[in-house]
Amino acid sequence: MAGTLQFDLVSPERRLASVAASEVQIPGADGDLTAMEGHAPTITTLRPGVLKVVSAEGAKSFVVTGGFAEISATGVSVLAERAVPVEELTPALMDQLIADASEATAVAVDKDAADKSMADLVAMRAAAGF
């Protein structure tokens, strides 16, 4: 078993998690990636998706809608615009996220990127089985 890295998940309003994790699966903008101890220092933006953290306490998943992750050899900090533990995800909340996203799409400068995150959200809803 490899060593652990410090995982922090913060949203603008509060710190959601801070644990020593053995691996963190991140939905990066250019594809998913898994960070483990000794990962090359990387900064990546996030796409809407599921973030999974494996720690000694078990695996925890969060739904994130955007933001970025800063990965270093000893830690991962994820700054998510919105992050919700998967257990708290409800169809209503999902719909609200999609509604927010479509609002943002309407005024976005970069239509392609906005459409893409919209599609990601819809895919996520389908995957969640709502």
Partner: protein
């Protein structure tokens, strides 16, 4: 000389006022704690955000392809001032200090031949600024319906500001708010958010960037604007409660002093009336 009845009514009314100001002070104290907690909770995000953006800005900033949010439009002609004040009064000099700072800045800019546009957040600032700058007001954000300040509120303001910037309606955006120092001291602050300014961050470790540095920066800058606005709103919220708390503390103390003063006058004139009556009775009896 007011009658005894008048004095009694006056004392009763000041006592009621004192009860109200005391209650408001206590409510503000509770709200202040909550506002401070919220500001505390938001700090890690803002700090990390600034650190990463500072690092990125340092490496990308000088290149010609730097995003406009960072490099600016190349002009400083049209200045947008975002003035954040409270929705309610009775908070001492809280609103006036922000407005005074914003007004000084606006006059300075106008004197320098710039175009000034003002966006107000919170009712009180709009009322005060409308007198001098009615023609410069471009918008108002109403926060009176907001019970609990959330990131979504900041995002809405940021979206508005960014839309104006993208549409070429402004070149420089500055926000005005009160930075919370302590309950008795709030510092009115002007902070330029577009073009973004960062404290020269130490050269960060060599990171791999995914997608590219430019793309990440372009993605982060609008978020950075929202984060800065959110931080300002939270600081402002804490400052407002702090200012109200000390204002109400003063009011309570003043009311207390007033009650003592009026009670003394009341007792004195009551005593005088009794003495007068006694003299009348005694001299009446002597005359018989």
């Amino acid at each position: 000389m007011p009658s005894l009845k008048d004095l009694k009514n006056k004392i009763a009314s000041v006592k009621n006022t004192r009860k109200i100001t005391k209650a408001m002070q206590m409510v503000s104290a509770a709200k202040l704690r909550r506002a401070q907690d919220a500001a505390e909770a938001a700090r890690p995000y803002a700090e990390r955000m600034n650190a990463v953006m500072g690092g990125l800005a340092a490496s990308v900033g000088s290149s010609a392809s730097a995003p406009r949010l960072l490099a600016g439009t190349g002009s400083t002609q049209v200045q947008l001032l975002v003035v954040m004040t409270s929705e309610r009064g009775l908070c001492g000099g809280f609103n006036s200090t922000i407005v005074r700072l914003a007004r000084a800045k606006a006059h300075e800019l106008i004197a320098a031949g710039k175009t000034v546009k003002i966006l107000t957040v919170g009712k009180k600032g709009r009322e005060q600024l409308r007198r001098d700058f009615a023609a410069n007001m471009v918008g108002h954000v109403d926060m009176s319906e907001v019970k609990r300040l959330g990131y979504a509120n900041a995002q809405a303001i940021a979206r508005d500001v960014l839309a104006r910037f993208e549409a070429g309606e402004c070149d420089v955006v500055t926000i005005f708010y009160n930075r919370f120092q302590s309950v008795i001291s709030q510092i009115p602050t002007a902070q330029q958010i577009i073009p973004a300014k960062f404290e020269a961050g130490a050269a960060t470790a060599l990171y791999d960037y995914e997608p590219s540095e430019e793309a990440i920066l372009a993605d982060l800058l609008p978020r950075g604007v929202a984060t800065q606005i959110f931080t300002a709103l939270l600081e402002n919220g804490a400052s407002e409660q702090g200012a109200r708390m000390s204002a109400m503390d003063n009011a309570t103390r003043n009311a207390g002093e007033m009650i003592t003063k009026y009670t003394t006058i009341y007792n004195r004139s009551r005593q005088a009336a009794i003495t007068k009556e006694l003299i009348e009775i005694i001299s009446g009896a002597e005359a018989l």
